[in-house]
Symmetry: none
Subunit: 230 residues, 2 copies
DNA sequence: GGCCGGCATCAAGATTTCGTCAAGACGCCA
DNA sequence: TGGCGTCTTGACGAAATCTTGATGCCGGCC
């Protein structure tokens, strides 16, 4: 969306519908590109990456579904599919192939515009950075499964990560040995408190400034552990 | 279009028409190459890749259509076809074979020049920006499914490409074995982690400077793989 | 002071997971 | 049908991770 208003790519072979869309969308302030065939759509999209695609599934040359999946290989912008009312199955395969929404023809302008706004808004959210949790000088990027200490990445083994994630999930609360063991190792090993000691130690070695006097992973003697809330 | 003005290749056997074209085009500032036969056209085009081709379909040796498709095998520059007024069918097959436009003889200079400008402008756009992603010394042209390392193209098999593309799509994130297998091989093979090892190895061999200490495709032991974000 | 239980740390196997090579199977095109 | 590129499968050494045992520390209690 470099130049302010979103760039829409219309892929539609029927001249009248295209003209109609052009009128409705330009009056809304959208910038437009048009393609009358699948081939052209792929070419134009590659040259001018759109912020949103309106894709008619009934195209003359390539199958609309094909265009859809070729686009989805690299395009993250939302794709709204235009289908005939009786093509139920088509909608479903289209959504499976990565379409974000569909509108059945004939459609009301208002509905189309509303769905476009929703899709664009949604896309913007996705583009935002993945949410991170900060505690002290630690930073957790949970979607990416990454942990940082003062901006340098920390490598954690699967069990270390799982343990830390469980503590983080209930941070501030005291977590009993049994609870942690169940969550991380499973009900089988809920007695093996020794596991906990070993892994807490290695987590402290990696996360704490002074593992002997921990700031994040606190021991609750006789009960369990607690991850510092603030 | 290295030297400023576009290089035009004229393929035309009739001397008078060639002379006429030469006059019109040089006065417009175009650089020219000429060929009087199909054979010559292919030779010249190979030696001096033109920015635009004017191709007369009525040639003495090879069929004009043949020249056209031979050129199209590798040449992306626009090709404008010159046809006689009564050769309707010829135009159509020419367009199918990859011609960008046609002009019927006899033609007005103004019209020819206009069509040439359009074609050149259009070609420029296409050549301009396929959205490419750069990571380190790698470059990805996603729409075209091409991968380059330091500007030399890397050949990837279909599955190699698909795997790489999915990692790139979620670059920075840790992708579990299951996820990658599902995306690339489908839900059936979501257990076959061995596939991943083999293909990651071959991708590293092709992309990394030192496959043993990868910079792009990183292993997250026990979890999956991650494509380096920055 | 000596003993004991809970906790922390270290390190040596044991086990699982990875990387690599190569042979076989498969599909496709000439 | 044979060759070619590609994918699948198997085998094995290497690496990372997990388990397990040994040892030491500390505070409370007899």
């Amino acid at each position: 969306m470099q130049q302010g208003s979103p760039l829409i790519l219309i892929v539609e072979d029927e001249q009248p519908i295209r003209r109609f869309l052009r009128a409705s969308l330009t009056s809304e302030g959208y910038r437009l590109n048009e393609a009358a065939s699948g081939e052209e759509a792929l070419r134009v999209a590659a040259s001018y990456p759109p912020d949103l695609v309106l894709l008619d599934l009934g195209l003359p040359d390539i199958d609309g579904q094909e265009v859809l999946s070729r686009l989805r290989e690299w395009l993250t912008a939302p794709i709204i599919v235009l289908t005939a009312r009786d093509q139920e199955q088509q909608k479903i395969t289209a959504l499976d192939a990565g379409a974000d929404d569909y509108v059945t023809k004939p459609f009301a302008t208002g509905e189309l515009l509303a769905r476009m706004r929703t899709a664009l808004r949604h896309a913007q959210h996705l583009a935002a950075e993945s949410p991170t949790v900060r505690v002290g000088d630690l930073r957790f990027d949970l979607p990416a499964r990454l942990v940082f200490k003062r901006d340098t990445q920390i490598h954690l083994t699967p069990l270390e990560y799982k343990l830390l994630a469980t503590m983080l999930k209930h941070s501030g609360k005291v977590l009993t040995h049994r609870f942690l063991l169940r969550e991380v190792w499973g009900p089988e090993d809920s007695q093996e408190t020794h596991y906990l000691r070993v892994f807490v130690a290695s987590l402290r070695r990696k996360l704490e400034d002074d593992p002997a006097r921990p700031r994040y992973i606190l021991t609750e003697p006789g009960v369990g552990y607690r991850f510092a809330a603030e």
